[in-house]
Amino acid sequence: MNGSLRQSMAWLHTWSGLLLGWLLVAVFVTGTSAYYREEISLWMEPELHQSTASDDTMDLAWQTLGRIAPEARSWDISLPDARNPAVQLRWQPAGEEQPRQGGGRNRGEQAWMDAGSGEVLTPRETRGGHFLYRFHFELYGVPRLWARWLICVATMFMLVAIISGVITHKKIFKDFFTFRPGKGQRSWLDAHNASAVLALPFHFMITYSGLLLFMVMLMPWGIDAAYDGDRRAFFDEAFPRSTEAPGPAGEPADMVAIGPLAAATAARFERPVSRIEVQHPNRENARIRISVEQDVAISGRRRGGSPTQVFQGSSGDLLETIEPREAPTPLMGKVYNVMTNLHLVRFADPLVRLLFFFSGLAGSAMVATGMLLWVSKRTQQLRRQQPGAALKLVNGLNMASITGLLAAIGAYFAANRVLPATLAERSSWEIRVFFLVWLTSLVHGLLRPHRRGWIEQLAVITVLWLALPFLDMVTTDSHLFSAAAWRLGALAGFDLICLLLGALWGYALWRVAKPKPDKRKPARAREPALAEGNA
C-alpha cells in the first residue's frame, strides 16, 4: 500500500475489477445483445416474420383499429421499418386513464398486425430481447431501484478500474501492439492490455455514459441545490413538453382516409412515415399526428421528438407542422448528449449498430480476460500446490459468469423455439430456463476441476450456439434457407451471428483442450517481476 503510485493503483485495479467483474461481464454481454434487442425480439416471434408491407398497410391499420378499438381514447400505429416487418397497434381503451404501476403513462393495449393482410397476429408470448436489455441495467427479480444502484456502483468501479488501469500500465504506447502467446499469465496480461488499451475510448465512453444515463438518480444534489429541492422544476426546464391535455371526446364523426394525409407528410419531410397517433379517433375533435423518423444529431437533445404534422381528423385540414429544432446546449450538455446518444446507438445506420456490437464483444472480452488473468496469476503462484477454496470459488464464478451466461442466453433462445407456443406463462418459462441453465453452470463450475470444467462448458456453448440456426430450420419457416429470413436482414443476421459466435466458442474450446507442449518453462521464473505491477 505504501509503495509507489503504480503499485497502489495496481492493487486498486485488481480488487475493484475482481469484486464487481462478474457483474460487469453480465452487464457487458447483455448490454451488447441490447444493441440488437429489436432484432432478437423479432427472431423470437416467428409469427410476425411473414408480414410484408404494402401500399395498403396504413389503410389496413386504420380499418383494423376501427374494428378492434373503435371506442378507444387514442390510437398509436408504428409502421413497419427495416427492423420489424409487422405493424404495432396500441390504443388507450375508453374510460379513465389508469396510472401505470411505478409512475409513467399507461401504454394501454397493444396488438400486432400483418402489414399485408391486416390480420391481427398473435405471436408466442415472450419477453424477447427486452429481457436481456432490462437485465443489462436492472437485473431481474430484484427491486428495480436496488438493482440500478448496484449496477451503477459496478459501473463506477469500472470507471475507477479504467483510470487506475491506465496509471498501472507501464508502457502503454510501447506495448500497444504487444501480444506474446503461449506464456500463460503473461499472455492473459497482454490480451487484457491489448483489448483494454486499444478500445479505451469505447470503454470510457460506455462506462461514463452509463453513469450519465442515471445521473439524476445518482447525483441529484446539483438539482436539489440549484432548484431548492424542486426536481420537477428542473425537469420542466430541461425537457419542456407541451402540456396540452386532451379535452373530452366530441360527438362521433367519421374520419378522412389516412392515405393522402400520410402521403402529404411523407412528401413534406421527404421521408417515409413511421408513426401515426390519433387522439379521440372517430370523433369530431379527432387529431391525427403523423411522424417520420429522423436521426438525432450526435450532440442533439434526446427528447427532441420527430418531425410531425398534425391534422384535423374529420376534415383532414393541416393544423400544425412541427420540426424539431436544436435547443442551444452548453458544452457539458453536449457532452452528455454525445455520450448518451452513442451509448444507446440512437442512429438509424445499421452499420453503426454492427460496429458497436463488435465493440461490445471486445469490451466483454476485456473484462473476461481481466478475471481470467486473476486466476492465472494465482494458479502460477501455487507451484504445484492444491488450489485453495478461494481460488476455486473465483474460478467457478468466472466460469459461470462467462461460459455460464453464454449457455444461459443460448438456452433462452433455444427455449423460445422448443417450448410449446401455447404454454401457460410461456415468457416466464423462457426466463426460468435462462436462470436454471445459469445456476447449473455455476454448480458445475464450482464442482469440476479447473480445466475440465472450462472444456465441458465451452463444449456445451459451442454445440448450443451452433445448433440455434438448425433449430430454426426445424421449427420455423424463416430460417437461413428461406427467402423470409433474407428479406428481413435481422433474421438472417441473427442466425449468422449465432454461427459466428458458436465458431468462436469452438475455437476457444480447441485452444483450451489442446494439450500444452511447454507446461513448465524455465522462463517462468522472471514472469512475476514482469507482471508484478499489473496483475
Binding site: 500500500m1 497502489s8 475507477v160 446539483g222 438539482i223
Partner: protein, 95 residues
C-alpha cells in the same frame, strides 16, 4: 498481497471508506457547489456540474488509494468536501 499486515488491512479499510463514502460526499457537495456557483443559467450549471460529478468521484477514489498516508488521504477528501459544503450554504439556491 496475501501477507497483508494488520495495520495495512486497517489502512485499506479506512481508505476504502474514504474512497467510497468520502468520495461520494465530495462529489455530491462539489456538484451542489458548482450548480449554484457556476456563472451560467441554473439549468446549464446543474447539467455541467452533474456531468462532471463522476469525474470528481473517480479522482477522489484514486486520491484515496494513491496518497502516501491514510491521514492525508482523508484530509484530501474531507477538506474540499467541507469547503464545497460551506459554499453551497453561503450561496444557497440561485433563484
Amino acid at each position: 498481497m496475501s501477507q497483508l499486515k494488520n495495520a495495512t488491512r486497517l489502512s485499506v479499510a479506512s481508505r476504502a471508506i474514504a474512497a467510497v463514502l468520502g468520495g461520494y460526499a465530495l462529489s455530491a457537495t462539489a456538484t451542489a457547489a458548482l450548480s449554484v456557483g457556476l456563472p451560467m443559467s441554473r439549468m446549464d450549471a446543474v447539467i455541467t456540474a452533474s456531468v462532471l460529478s463522476f469525474l470528481i468521484y473517480s479522482v477522489a477514489v484514486i486520491w484515496a488509494f494513491a496518497c502516501a498516508t491514510t491521514a492525508r488521504a482523508w484530509a484530501g477528501i474531507a477538506i474540499p468536501t467541507l469547503l464545497c459544503g460551506a459554499l453551497v450554504w453561503l450561496l444557497g439556491p440561485a433563484s
